[in-house]
Amino acid sequence: MEHVSKIELIEYVAGRLSASRHEEVRKHITACEECSGRWRGAVETWNALGQWNVDTADHDVADKIIARAEKAESNRKQLRLPRILRVGLLPTALSVAASIIIAIGVGHKLGKYSVTGSMPSVPPSTNRPEYLAALGLEWSSELAWLVLEDDDSPNKGDQ
């Protein structure tokens, strides 16, 4: 077996090789003086690093996180409503709508008493225009039919 690679030695010391690979490396280290020396150095470093312990006991953040998450959740629920329905805006929106309806109703009532409010009704004209009389027609719509009939006339090409 070749010498143990640097990364494999690190993972061997950390105990993160597969069981079969771990055994192979162990056997090699036992037999190889060079790798045995490297292994001892790696173990010393590993153990020295283990002296740096971090005590998190005084840093419980669970309550703070729950409080922030609950606040974020309620904000999110509020954001889901249409803007106008959010707390605080609804009474304002309703009072504005009521004011508009009242103003329209009052304006409508007052309109009956204004000078320009009622226009005299004009009866439709009963006089037949002279150009229709000349053609012997009663209504202007008959004029359109007359033109169309003229276009469809089979003798049109002979004229």
Binding site: L49, W52, T56, A69
Partner: protein, 174 residues
Amino acid sequence: MARLAEGDIAALGDIVRKHQDRVLSLSYRVLGDWHRAEDVAQETFLRVHRAAKHYKPKAKFTTWLYRIVVNLCFDEQRKRAKAGASLENAGSEVLAESDYNAAEKKELAELVRASVNELPERQRLAVILHRYDGLSHGEISEVTGWTKSAVESLLVRAYANLRGKLEKMRDFLE
């Protein structure tokens, strides 16, 4: 996560209590500052909460969680770099405070911490995830988005650097 996706806030509490130690210790080791570490921990779990409805377990939950922590730590470091502060400064502040508290008892631990903090940023993160959070180099690759070979190289250099630093430290202590 399924309970959390249904809006059960108590489920978030369970997740936080189960994982906050590893999130806090990782962010503290990377940032060297409890205040920032707590901020990162809070933001991490709030992101978990926000993402719960769309969460699809493609990888291990802890791998996903570490990815969030690492990204937030990167953001914090960028902010700090913009503000002109360095981790070395933050570290020495912590060291100075703790020196007065329990100098002799914690001397070795503080020197180890200082040695780790002196590593280049990527080496430091790789070694923290490997030594203290129990991730293999393959898992570190998943969490950070770096290639496996890059992680291997970072770990090899980081441990070699640390060995040199800790040997000097041992001579100093003896």
